[in-house]
Amino acid sequence: MNFIDTRLKIRRFIKKNRKKVIFVVITVAIIIAINYILKNMPEEEIPKTTYEPNVAVMDESEVPKKWHSEIENRIKTFVDYCNNKEYQKAYDMISDECKDAIYPVIGDFKEYVDKRFQVKRIYSIQNFSNISKQYIYDVNFMSDFMATGSTGTNYGYVQEKFVFTEDDNSLKFAIGGFVRTNILDAFVEDENLKIVTKKKNVYYDHETYTVDITNKTDYPIVLGDGTGEDEIAISVNEQLREETNINAVNVVLQPNESRTFTFVFEKYCDDGYAPQAMYFTDVRVLKSYSGTEETRQQELDNAVRRYSLILNFNVKD
């Protein structure tokens, strides 16, 4: 096939499909023109800043774009309500889980507002970290320095973590660093004790466990009184984390007594590890317990039994 044949073929093809060819040429021309126009559209110049409120400082992950304005508006509305002391409206914005965990009645929330918003506050936000569909923001509260020039006060801010949780294509809003409630329904039982924990509340930097303990014996039982190491602890990534208030809590049960305790453990919710179990490393079934230093060793020497107990969670975070 020579050059002339090819030319003739092309010519014939064009003649035969003239309309289609014209249509294709015009379409391509239009696409090129539109591309050119869009490329050369003058961009609106706005002052460039390094401020990216919805990008996490921990790992530079970004909160989904569809939530940006929703989150920013919610925080603004909440702060406005608090500044105006519209307690009920602000309280209604918080998720039920957060209310149950921190402010079960509006009076508790009112105290928070009155303390945090003694004067009008302005604020800034910065996404701190994101775990799955939970978006954690640092919110810095400051006195309204634009209006006061911080005259007569020291410039500074108070930081609080606000958490937004994606749930059924909507966002749940929590304050005070509260992240979520996890149902555990874990228990362990032997001839001396029955220990049940139904749930834990996860905060950004700690977890609280509600634990029901029953002494089934006719002896006093000591689980924690601050005299030993890691008496009550959770295991996280093969490390034990001791209960933070053990010296104040004094976990001692009299014969046949049942009590509910709230244990607090340090644990960052974005560290990537889930607690595996709660350890009671020194359960002391004693003939008598006075709680005094003088008789402590003698009471331990006469113990009915000393052992450790593990309460497995068997749940993923």
Binding site: P47, M142, M146, G149, Y157
Partner: protein, 189 residues
Amino acid sequence: MARKKRKIPAPQKRVRILVVIAILLILINVYNISKLIIIANNREKAKNLNTAEVTGSENITAEEIEQNAEERELEGLKDADERTRIQQYCGTFIRHIENGEYDKAYDLLYPDFKNNYFKTLEDFTKYVQEKFPSDLILVSYDNIERQGQYYILFTTITSPLQPDYSMEERFFFVENDFNDFKVSFEVKQ
């Protein structure tokens, strides 16, 4: 009963296609023409700017000189990072005070701040005349912090003509756009 599809006659069809193409071509041309107009306008502006620089105040008014300076300042701001911009805003505010243009400095104050401390221009003038150096003002920028949309500039103000004078001052800025900002500062008792 199903509606019968009416067949468009061939000539009418051709006309329709031609109309669509014509509209598209017109749109493209309108865009190009408007772009050419903008470019021509910009060239004219640039030419005027150059003329102003070369001929000085002979052919242009003081107002035009000021406008040209503002335009150049604005161009500079567009290339600057946020720290430089905020320092420049602070410089603008101080320059107004230094030049005795208290009304211009007063206009830059954040409205609530004005309302709290300087209800009138006279109040503000009295304050700056009392607290700031009367002639040459030097500002050293010690630190800058950002809280969301707000900037806090920590400065020390001195004056070469008053060796004993030194004042630490915190300025607070909010930037709405290039060269569009509001300022407040710690009022000294």
